[in-house]
């Protein structure tokens, strides 16, 4: 394996490594526009030029393979001058109207200008006019004047989504990125081109002009859109509730995980966060005289334990049924097993909606199972058939039915629900199941709590609270803890992490940042 020296520091890398990758290993960031680790090498922006000993010309770090004994200098005056020159070339035809550009604050033209540019403009000519902000797909706007022709978006559509919508047309300084005739950027991964665009050429319809990026806060999380468990960042804003109609979650961005989603997420996941802001169950409700009435936590935290206690006293654990949800975290499911299964002795605990039809699936990221934690629920062992539980409740064998998060909307399911008198519903959003409940407990969404999901492969991945639970909703952990306390069950958990500790025998801090396989065998098989 070659040893190479970069800016005086040595590193041993394998022979296929490029200089830009080797530098990254040493924590040296070489400026770039066209290079992206998930795409083929274009070598066209010429910004990553570095000086290599014994080579007369500067070399591009993205395409130069390391050789043993190579000595690279990434920030000599010669290199800085060349980068400044490339930046000057790129800015010749780029509009200088950053204050009205939505990319402002996360634009690499701005960033590198401040880092390596800082020259006075010498450009006296007219800039070339091109087509301004226009729609090229359901989520993406293109501004050809802001484009620096790095070709990342084109390569993404050719190599990753393999849908080939975009191309670079014309030539010389008249070149521009556009759709091929008759095409639309409507593939299910289209949002990724916005992330990889280093400038303000490709912007997001859902996000543009909603919030300046310097007001955004960010929290690492896991997408709950399907069983893949793509790593994401939740970008939110809680400081300016009067903006953007009070939207707290403003966008989701993919987060790199080499084992799960690499740099990408699908559009279904990216734009699937609306439920966090809309149609929420914000307060507890109790059915009085045939209709659900707004109430308070004190009342429902009396009502729910009393119902459970009564059922237990009169009918034993057989009188209670629980339908947990694959939308819940491992910690929530573990707590459900603890409280209902172990402490109350309930055996009718299931989680899988038997009427749910598999969704769209492809051979890249999207999974047919649209729940983030089916595997976790299976591992924790909540496996009673849900249809049987519902039928037992409808025939009256089960007196109190506790349903988490589900939206049963199949006609047969609704028919069964209509004939069950004592449903306790705990969930985040209004739906037909919640409307048929006796008590409705407002629960937090995944963005509002801490926990972990186990993806379809068996990889446990942690997510963290981005925003507090909306209005009076509480996390499932809090609600169950309150119920257990009323029932005088001796619980010793202060936080979901205590549950994780008990379940997995380790703390979150001991977990690999990219997640860990759930069992020894899987750990060995998947590394």
């Amino acid at each position: 394996m070659p040893t190479i020296t970069i800016d005086g520091q040595q590193v041993v890398v394998d022979a296929a490594t490029t200089v830009i990758q080797a530098a990254e290993k040493l924590g040296i960031y070489i400026p770039r526009y066209c290079y992206h680790p998930g795409l083929s090498i274009a070598g066209s922006c010429r910004l990553c030029m570095v000086e290599i000993e014994k080579m007369p010309k500067l070399q591009i770090a993205c395409h130069t393979r390391v050789t043993d004994g190579m000595n690279v200098i990434t920030s000599s005056d010669k290199v800085k001058q060349a980068r400044r020159a490339m930046l000057e070339f790129l800015l010749i035809d780029h509009p200088l109207d950053c204050p009205v550009c939505d990319q402002s604050g996360e634009c690499d033209l701005q960033n590198f200008y401040m880092e390596i540019g800082r020259y006075d403009s010498r450009f006296l000519e007219n800039k070339i006019k091109r087509k301004k902000a226009f729609s090229i797909g359901p989520h993406v706007m293109l501004d050809q004047e802001r484009c620096i022709l790095c070709s990342r978006c084109v390569r993404f559509c050719d190599e990753v989504s393999k849908t080939n919508e975009l191309g670079i047309f014309s030539r010389g300084d008249r070149s521009f990125v556009d759709l091929y005739p008759g095409k639309e950027l409507a593939n299910i991964y289209s949002g990724n081109v916005i992330d990889i665009c280093p400038v303000g050429a490709l912007t997001e319809k859902e996000f543009r002009f909603q919030c300046r990026v310097w007001y955004l806060q960010s929290q690492d999380s896991i997408c709950n859109g399907c069983a893949r468990g793509c790593n994401i960042q939740i970008h939110y804003n809680t400081a300016r509730p009067y903006k953007s109609e009070g939207r707290r979650i403003l966008r989701l961005k993919p987060r790199f995980n080499p084992y799960v989603n690499r740099w990408w997420i699908c559009d279904e996941g990216r734009y699937g966060y609306e439920f966090i802001n809309k149609n929420r169950i914000e307060f507890p409700y109790l059915r009085r005289g045939g209709k659900l009435d707004l109430t308070d936590w004190d009342t429902v935290i009396e009502e729910v334990p009393r119902a459970l206690k009564t059922a237990l006293e009169h009918y034993g654990p057989e009188g209670i049924g629980v339908i947990a949800s694959p939308q819940l975290s491992n910690e929530d499911l573990y707590l459900i097993r603890k409280v209902f299964g172990e402490l109350m002795g309930v055996s009718d605990i299931g989680f899988k909606n038997p009427w749910e039809k598999p969704g769209y699936q492809d051979d890249f990221l999207v999974r047919a199972d649209k729940n983030p934690n089916t595997r976790g629920a299976e591992e924790i062992g909540l496996t009673t058939n849900v249809q049987t539980i519902l039928e037992s409740a409808a025939t009256g064998r089960i007196k109190v039915l506790y349903i988490f998060q589900h939206n049963f909307d199949a006609p047969e399911a609704l028919e069964l629900l209509d004939s069950i008198p004592g449903i306790i519903y705990q969930g985040s959003n209004w739906n037909q199941t919640a409307e048929r409940a006796h008590v409705v407990l407002p629960a937090a969404t995944y963005a509002e709590k801490d926990g972990s999901f186990t993806n379809f492969e068996g990889r446990i991945q942690r997510f963290c609270r981005a925003v507090p639970p909306l209005e009076e909703s509480k996390t499932d952990f809090e609600i169950l803890s309150l119920v257990a306390e009323k029932l005088e069950f001796p619980l010793v958990y202060n936080h979901p992490l205590d549950l994780f500790m008990e379940w997995q025998g380790k703390s979150y801090a001991e977990m690999d940042g990219f997640g860990e396989m759930i069992s020894e065998q899987l750990r060995e098989a998947n590394g």
């Binding site: 070598g43 066209s44 000057e88 070339f89 620096i148 008249r174």
Partner: protein, 429 residues
Amino acid sequence: MPIVKLVSEYFGNEQAKSLDWYRQNGGYEAARRAIFEMAPKQVTDEVIKSNLRGLGGAGFPTGKKWSFVPADDSKPKYLTVNADEAEPGTFKDRYILEWDPHRLIEGIIICSWAVGIHKAYIYVRGEYVRPYRILKAAVEEAYKEGILGEHVLGADFKLDVHIHRGAGAYICGEETGLLESLEGKKGWPRLKPPFPAIIGLFNCPTVINNVETLSHLRNIILKGGEWFADIGVDRNGGTRLFALSGRVKRPGVYELPMGTPMRELIYEHGDGIAGDRQLKAIIPGGASAPVLTADQVDIPMTFDDLAKVGSMLGSAGIVVMDESVCMVKAMHTIADFFAHESCGQCTPCRQGTGWVYRIVSRILDGHGSVDDMKTLESAKKNMSGTSICALSDGAAMAYGGFLSKFPEEFEYHIKHKKCDLQEKRMAVA
């Protein structure tokens, strides 16, 4: 030096493009000899001995180029003939295609035999409609007579030749831009390495040779590499087709030994400057070659001698300019060409060519600024050695020639907002 007709032997001969006539005059004898009497290695050695260099413009030794193709590669190998002659002031390959297409086909056979190639592509410049028709007829005739196809000249050697027409882009004359275009993609030059000899057309080892280069092979095989090397000067074997244009009395294509001084070409073969005006400047090798001044007219035309004075022989397209030519205008024409033809792939070329063109246009329009020379100089510098292919370097070299050789004309334009020459002519009148 006298005119030596090696590849221009049949120029002007209407019969030469017919296969019958070509064969009656010794045609395909060299190909036959190579295949039946020589091992591939012997052919390559002979070409190395001849000092034949790539006559498309880069001047890379031809035999050496062939020897880079890996012999043990299991992939098919290809020959690509560069007939995309698009360098301004260059029109020599056109003559070969129009007057002597079989000499090229014979060269293709010899090269293919030497390297072990069974498929050759001729990439013909889109605008060359007549040359294309003549070449196509010649290839069809060669197939019909069993010179190409399953058994070349009856031997156990297969060779197919395809002709592909370009769509009008200068950049497709760049080796790898040509390969991309041939593969049906946009003609964007590739990053190197890998070089085409290892990974070229359809990811296979590929030899890319110019029309004129291949056309010399017939004589090299028949008369020997040493004979060819002796015609030229040290390390620059044989002759060269010089395409003479501009302000001369007899423009045209002249075949002269390598090393002939420019003076001889312009004043003897070209019959001197039109209107008997004074020589002012010479572009010695197509638009990319830095312009030379009148006092450099005695430099011998070889790759090495012109490189020594900071210019290049390139494609040997010699453009002659007399005292009435405005150098700002000349640079404007050339800057326009490069800005128009830059493929737009990499930053320095895409933006640099456009910027320089816009600055020179502004100077010509009488809106020059005092800093323009400095800006042009630095744009030129920043375009050198920073791009994927040589177009940017070539453009920068051309700009550099005008800026360094005739700075006073630019300064006059900037200061007086008009052309110095107009005043002079007015004064004479």
